[in-house]
Symmetry: none
Subunit: 414 residues, 2 copies
């Protein structure tokens, strides 16, 4: 099955919005065996939408459109599609009630333009939007499925997950077997070196392998399209991979480090706190991005100023002066300090120069200390990342979480 | 002048890489008056590249291609273009020396695949790449300019800045005037209602308007292509907009709320701290995403557990029991508590049910209290957002920052 994505919106073409929907769609469709053969971005202009549709229908079995479904004057996707498919707009009562409830729940007034969002092409199948007022629409023409969804990422993603992906999967007759192993703290080239022989054998067995790098992490995805032996072959090579790079693996599939950590803490009945300088709250944010994290995460002291490091976390003022805030003894005292202050079993602390300013010859931008403290020991590591502030904050958080994962694992009964 | 962008690479279509080049190009070309009318992403396949080129040449005056110029087997853009334009590849001595120097400077060995990068289509103009080994190429056919550059963002951006933008600017005689006004805390539909008359007059004057919504914020972009009166018309309508929705406007152009707050705090010599329950560190993260924020941001207490709210922030235990953590008196005590604890001029506090779990009938998921405390007063507001955890955290942070902006503004001398 071949798919095309068409994203609609002036804001994409003038560069005000980066189109992240297409990459997300490409990833999800790829996992169910649907190849995206083209992504097209066009402005909110009727003629451009019609041109793009006419072209894509020639090439694709499925066309996914996002954007242009809002309540304002520049949103013309719905009317253009109704005309394109020769349908009239008709008030959908179920959608109208849902929108009314949605608007009411937010304490807003139901306006004419909200109501109009319940007028949908008569003949299109409606895809309910549980997170907003613009419904999705499902059309079929010349053996091609055409699906239109809002451009707001979380609205589109929910509709894909609830309706579109399950239905498209059903109409697919090939199946793809995937296994994804997640690593942290080891680069793509180093991994490729360690895995060279394994990878050669894997490819000879008819499987394929993808390295999917992101800052601080590399995902390894093994794929088979062989329905007979694929499953057992994938299992066999995944188990070998576990042996080869065991200490770098933090999880599998869709897991994330905060999720894995959360599961470990919950299962062992332990608690966590953080003391953050250079990560500035991002580490706590990652941990609390997991629903239910309040069961094991007590809190964080974001100690951006040195006075907070000494005043709240009990960092020794002389040691701070002697070694500087970005140093092993200070980051260890921060971890131990917050562990004691908030009375938790474990703690993570970060202190570094996130940049782009603040570097020195001895401690250039990207110099970062991370410590983890537990009931038995405190460990610290120094990292040297790059010049990009955002990336440094992300890499530091992931490193801290992975250090904690190893510390907890070490303490578990074997 | 009309332009199209074609990005080439399998990694874009399977969603491994988000195409950020197109947005960057759209923004830069737009500023010199070139409209991007379409962005197309295609895989590293000869037939797909030829198809896309054939189509774009019909529509565009300028086509910018990125990607597929690397030294590996899957990079086929250069050979495809040479064939497309009926050119043979010829060793370019100047490029060869530059690549040799580049490879040598990195302590690497000059390999066959590096040398081949100096073989370029005979007849194309070469655009030097000072940051890598893949040269850019400039072709002209049927009155269309076709420019091919590497997909590595910083290589492409340098070539655009040094060569492509200056040359294209020279051949342009029109210019586009933009003005963007940034709002927070008011929905797109409500805005559209308030602005209806103004918007109608604006459109009648030949200007265009775009609503660019993102969670918690809406950008309003006014555009004119009229070189004679455009600038004064845009100014006039922007000034009217300031009057109509003054209290919702937090900035203009590329500004962000953390940047605007940072500027206000720096200029008035004031300091800030935060006490976060439901935002879990994200508010501090947004504030510290600004380089140099350590000048005014002292730190945060992420009080996820109630013990941290009472123990560290001094929230009264009886009030907490009586009203619950998600309540006006508690969030006010949190703001005042952290302000005192970290000795800052201002403080923001958040407490709410981010969801998806933890809601009750009285306080459903999305119920959020935010407080701001300053030298003279403490203010609190309740919000009812939706069911999406990530979005609730983001909206709460933006609301807190905007409440702080208003509080600081009120305290400024008029």
């Amino acid at each position: 099955m071949k798919a095309e994505v068409i994203t609609i919106g002036d804001e994409i073409l003038i560069g005000q919005t980066v189109d992240t929907n297409s990459a997300w769609l490409g990833n999800k469709l790829n996992l169910i065996g649907i190849d995206i053969i083209r992504i097209t971005s066009i402005p909110d202009t009727k003629a451009r939408i019609v041109d793009a549709l006419n072209e894509s229908i020639q090439r694709a079995d499925v066309i996914i459109l996002t954007g242009g479904l809002g309540p304002t004057q520049d949103d013309i996707t719905k009317n253009t599609l109704a005309e394109y498919f020769n349908m009239t707009l008709k008030r959908n009562d179920a959608v109208f009630s849902r929108i009314s409830e949605y608007i009411e729940a937010r304490g807003l007034e139901m306006l004419q333009k909200h109501a109009q969002q319940a007028d949908l092409p008569d003949g299109a199948r409606v895809i309910d939007n549980l997170n907003g007022s613009a419904s999705g629409m499902w059309f079929e023409k010349d053996n091609t499925i055409i699906i239109s969804m809002p451009g707001v990422p979380y609205e589109m993603k929910a509709m894909m997950a609830d309706v579109v992906i399950p239905e498209l999967s059903r109409s697919q007759d090939s199946e793809i077997i995937h296994h994804t192993t997640l690593t942290q703290g080891i680069g793509e080239s180093t991994l490729a070196g360690i895995l060279e022989d394994w990878e050669t054998r894997l490819r000879k067995s008819g499987l394929s392998l993808a390295y999917l790098p992101s800052p601080g992490a590399v995902k390894l995805r093994i794929t088979s399209k062989d329905l007979t032996n694929g499953s057992s072959l994938v299992k066999q090579f995944a188990a070998e991979l576990d042996q080869l790079i065991e200490k770098h693996i933090y999880g599998y599939g869709d897991e994330t480090l905060p999720l894995v950590i959360g599961k470990m803490l919950r299962e062992s009945g332990k608690t966590l706190s953080t003391a953050e300088s250079c990560t500035g709250g991002f580490l706590a944010h990652q941990i609390t991005s997991i629903s239910g994290s309040s069961d094991y995460f007590m809190g964080s002291v974001v100690a951006y100023a040195n006075e907070v490091k000494t005043g709240q976390l009990g960092v020794d003022i002389d040691i701070l002066k002697q070694h500087g805030a970005v140093s092993e003894p200070v980051v260890k005292q921060m971890a131990e300090g917050v562990r004691k202050l908030l009375g938790t079993d474990y703690a993570i602390a970060t202190s570094g120069i996130a940049g782009p300013l603040g570097g020195t010859e001895q401690k250039p931008v990207g110099t970062i200390w991370v410590a983890v403290a537990g009931p038995k020991e405190t460990k610290a590591l120094m990292f040297r990342f790059g010049n990009n502030r955002e990336r440094n904050i992300l890499m530091t958080s992931l490193s801290g979480l992975n250090m904690l994962r190893r510390l907890i694992k070490k303490a578990l009964p074997h």
